[in-house]
């Protein structure tokens, strides 16, 4: 048999096999989901899937747990290769990256406007997934930030919970110095290769690396300047325990080595996982910068679900997301209580769980606080180059701590970002 006649025959056999598989899959209706964090996104999606399967017994779920970087890499590879076979039906994308995917891979994601009633969600979440009048994702969790602090350490240093409310960063650093003097504990863990804290501070004052039109907003950005100055003060005061990477950073507070954590609400599950620290934690509003427009509310991370246009189970996937994430208020109560997930469906805030006191936080109504702060998060345009700007900021942090004036640091960041965004 010669190769020319053999190859097409082989291909057709393979194709028949593939379509046979597709047919079987369609009958079983299994929805594949890619996401990260087994204690948070994965567990929440399993809960959502279980709820949907109860009313739709023919639909089952295959929830695959990857590291976030791996989800992004696999998605990006799959989308660029042009073959959708290896891609899931639903994928989780962090909000900072949403526009990057929507703009780089037009037609890859299914628009959900028309099906989903977006008026029920926090507007900033909807805005970041809108492109040319179409809305593409199902808004999921919010990264509203707070200051988690160890009541026991602060009490030893002579501070009451009232002393932590509505403070500025300068005051925070002062408290940090005293905590170290009295207890020997550092105030916070800090990873100098992670620009998360800079982003939190900057957004709390209503600015971002980019302006509303998506142009670089670095050298004239008062909020970014104040954030860098604050980071510099924190480093100069040496009130932090250095961390290298995420796991190391998480270790700084799970081990009890530091007195506070400043990050998004999604960290609650990790904080609460240390059962022996129950009752020792409190939550206060984010410290504010000392500039005009500064607030005590910000956001870090947060992500949303997207349906792939090429998905064989597209209709079921969209219906599933719409039924659970856009309508089921009770679902949001469960994931709040179990996982500390603050969703962006506004109606969920009226649910019972949001008003409950949490024993882990000494009976504070932490969820009510977070949802109040959520409403105050300044809306900014994340643009499409946040990773690039982040890299430029962390690249310049050592120069800043070695005494380079902050304006020159901003210029260097601007030069790097400008070279990257084209």
């Amino acid at each position: 048999m010669n190769l020319r006649t053999y190859l097409p025959r082989l291909t057709s056999v393979a194709l028949a096999g593939a379509s046979l598989l597709a047919v079987t899959a369609a009958e079983a209706k299994e929805i594949t989901v890619w996401c990260w964090d087994p204690n948070f996104n994965v567990a929440i999606m399993k809960e959502a899937g279980a709820r949907y399967t109860k009313t739709h017994p023919d639909v089952t779920f295959n929830i695959v747990d990857f590291a976030k970087a791996d989800v992004e890499q696999k998605l990006q590879t799959g989308l660029s290769s042009g073959t959708a076979d290896a891609l899931p039906d639903i994928v989780l994308i962090e909000d900072y990256g949403a526009q990057k995917y929507l703009q780089s891979f037009p037609g890859a994601f299914a628009p959900l406007s028309g099906t989903v009633d977006y008026s029920g969600f926090a507007p900033y979440k909807v805005e970041l997934m809108t492109l040319e009048g179409q809305v593409y994702g199902m808004p999921f969790d919010s990264g509203v930030t707070g200051l988690y602090y160890r009541k026991d350490y602060l009490e030893q240093a002579g501070f009451k919970p009232e002393d932590m409310q509505g403070i500025t960063w300068d005051r925070f650093i002062e408290i940090g110095k005293q905590v170290e003097a009295k207890t020997g504990k550092k105030m916070m863990g800090f990873d100098p290769t992670d620009a998360g804290l800079v982003r939190i501070m900057m957004q709390s004052a209503g600015q971002w690396y980019f302006d509303k039109e998506g142009k670089a907003n670095i050298t004239g950005n008062a909020a970014l300047k104040a954030s860098l100055e604050t980071i510099n003060k924190i480093m100069a005061a040496n009130i932090y325990k250095p961390a290298a990477g995420w796991a190391d950073w998480v270790g700084t507070f799970t081990s009890g080595d530091v007195a506070s954590v400043i990050t998004g609400v999604w960290i609650t599950g990790t904080v609460k996982a240390q059962a022996d620290q129950s009752g020792k934690w409190g939550v206060a509003p984010l410290p504010a910068l000392s500039i005009g427009g500064a607030t005590h509310a910000s956001n870090l991370g947060g992500s949303s679900w997207y349906v792939l246009e090429s998905s064989a189970e597209k209709a079921e996937a969209i219906d599933f997301l719409n039924e659970v994430y856009a309508k089921d208020v009770d679902f949001y109560q469960t994931i709040l209580t179990d996982r500390g997930a603050v969703g962006s469906l506004l109606a969920a805030r009226g649910g019972a769980a949001y008003g409950e006191a949490d024993a882990f936080f000494g009976g504070e109504k932490v969820w009510q606080n977070f949802s109040d702060w959520l409403a105050k998060v300044p809306s900014v345009n994340y643009g499409v180059f946040t990773n690039e700007a982040d890299t430029a900021v962390t690249a310049q942090l050592p120069a800043l701590t070695q005494g380079t004036p902050v304006d020159e640091v901003l210029k260097a960041i601007d030069a790097e970002v400008s070279a990257q965004i084209q």
Partner: protein, 299 residues
Amino acid sequence: MALARRGGIGRYYNVNGWLFVAPALGLIALFMIYPILWSLWMSFQSGRGMMLKFAGFSNIVRLWNDPVFIKALTNTLTYFVVQVPIMILLALILASLLNNPKLVGRGFFRTAIFLPCVTSLVAYSVLFKGMFAHDGIVNATLEAIGVIGEPIPWLTHPFWAKVLVILAITWRWTGYNMIFYLAAMQNIDKSIYEVARIDGVPAWARFTHITIPLLKPVILFTTVISTIGTIQLFDEVYNLTEGKGGPSNATLTLSLYIYNLTFRFMPNFGYAATVSYVIVVLVALLACVQFFAARERDR
């Protein structure tokens, strides 16, 4: 036997021979030559994700104005200039020590030194990350024996992070090079050393004037291989720095930058392809220089 009658036996063998290698050639063309040519074409394009447009030489112009690329290039060359000579020298010394037949426990030492290069790149990087953490075992040990007062910021200071990467790759690859030298040394005729010893040539001179010249082809080979490995360095840096090449881009390599341009940043496959061609050109140039240097000394 129609073929043989028409073109003779030579033609018969020719056609059959080519038919036998054709599948392999086809696969090579499909999975090697086609992607290489396609990436060359891509390096003349630019854009976001799938929206690539022909851009002429704009990617090459962009290289010169890109501080991150310059940084990655400098870092990569620093690794190459510092690490390759250290490793080659260390491997040579270890090989000649372990070549001594009087050494007790040779087998053990050979195995111990070779073991690192059969461990998984990812596994050892993760292990190194733990060992060299702020309060990791290395800092704790150094502090306990009084070498340092403050913990060394291995992963958070630009200088020490580079040192750590160099330590890691040296640990991983020295044994690999050593095995080549060891094998080559066993092929050197023992009588040459005997003659030298009888003539009163000291051990050091025997090493520099007999061992090294006779090992030259192997040294050249390992240098070229190590050069390619170092210029393409990716795994260690990726795993030690969570894929960021930090702190302050101090450990960023060209390969890691290509990865970032494709998977972490706004995907620009065209520009990433251009950077990967920089590696190709760099490796080709350095290999040429090394071959040239080795040939010159022969005369």
